[in-house]
């Protein structure tokens, strides 16, 4: 049986630093720099079900045919998942977002709301 140090060692610090560096590097590579989003694309199971314009006064859209009923709200260039019947509520907790390239996700519903700017997506990963 291996015995472990009781307190964090410099090697642990090194491990943490490596992950922090990887995170920062990925952040600069992956993070969208496209400014304000114009439309929100709603996909379920990878298939597009709606395209919402973000500008203008508050509008709500209830996505049909989901296992857990879910409503998306758009207002003044931003979008949020207003309500969801899913057990985790992670999607609702994400709140408003308006950055092109960003996204809101409801995993139990397999739903993704992706925000797109005028130029469309910059890169598709994976």
């Amino acid at each position: 049986m291996k015995s472990y140090p009781a307190k964090p060692t410099w090697a642990d610090g090194l491990v943490a630093a490596v992950f922090a560096l990887i995170a920062l590097a990925l952040f600069f590579v992956l993070w969208p720099r496209q400014g304000q989003a114009l439309t929100a694309r709603v996909t379920v199971d990878g298939k597009e079900v709606a395209r919402l314009t973000l500008a203008g006064p508050s509008r709500e859209y209830t996505v049909p045919g989901l296992p857990y009923p879910l409503t998306v709200e758009t207002e003044n260039g931003a979008v949020r998942i207003k309500t969801s019947g899913c057990p985790t509520q992670d999607c609702v907790h994400q709140g408003w977002t308006s950055q092109a390239g960003a996204q809101l996700i409801c995993l139990p519903n397999r739903l993704v709301v992706s925000l797109e700017g005028s130029g469309g997506v910059d890169a598709v990963l994976g």
Binding site: M1, T9, A11, V15, L26, L125
Partner: protein, 167 residues
């Protein structure tokens, strides 16, 4: 006591503990404080860390797989199983490698496990959602895993020191 019975009982008790910890953790979702999908404290990893440090690789794997299947049976769905298995197995593999590094304590092993768990979940998320854009969440999740991993590492260090040998 018969050795097989002892190992079986030990694994069963630890599996039950891991399930209970997961259930308790779900009552206090971290995502309320910090809205990042997939963010968890990952305290159930405590049991895996304990198994790696004090038991064997085989027992750690058995406990992990049983926990994933029972967890999905109790409260989840098929996609929940995909998430916990992909995250859990990648995490276990990474921790078994990290444990071989010189001078690394359970803190470091736990951070590696947390980071690998998040990566594994994103692999499942890409498969389930059918989009690669989920990888946008990797940088913030990795940063958070340094903190959540350290918390679990602290708990694991205490646990491994306090539980008497020969359990």
């Amino acid at each position: 006591v018969n050795k097989t019975v002892k190992v079986l009982t030990r694994c069963a008790v630890l599996t039950a503990m891991a399930l209970a910890i997961s259930a308790a953790e779900a009552l206090f979702p971290l995502t309320v404080l910090f809205p990042l999908p997939g963010l968890r404290l990952g305290l159930a990893n405590l049991v895996t860390l304990f198994a790696i440090a004090r038991l064997s690789r085989g027992e750690a794997l058995a406990i992990l797989v049983c926990r994933c299947f029972l967890g999905a049976l109790v409260g989840g769905s098929l996609s929940a199983l995909a998430f916990s298995l992909s995250g859990g197995l990648l995490s276990l593999g990474a921790m078994l490698l990290a444990q071989k590094l010189p001078r690394v304590s359970l803190y470091g092993v736990s951070v590696v496990g947390a980071a690998a768990h998040n990566t594994g979940q994103l692999i499942a998320a890409q498969a389930v959602l059918g989009t690669g854009t989920v990888w946008l969440y990797l940088p913030p999740l990795l940063l958070c895993s340094i903190l959540t991993g350290a918390v679990t590492g602290l708990a694991a260090t205490l646990l491994v020191r306090r539980v008497p040998p020969g359990l």
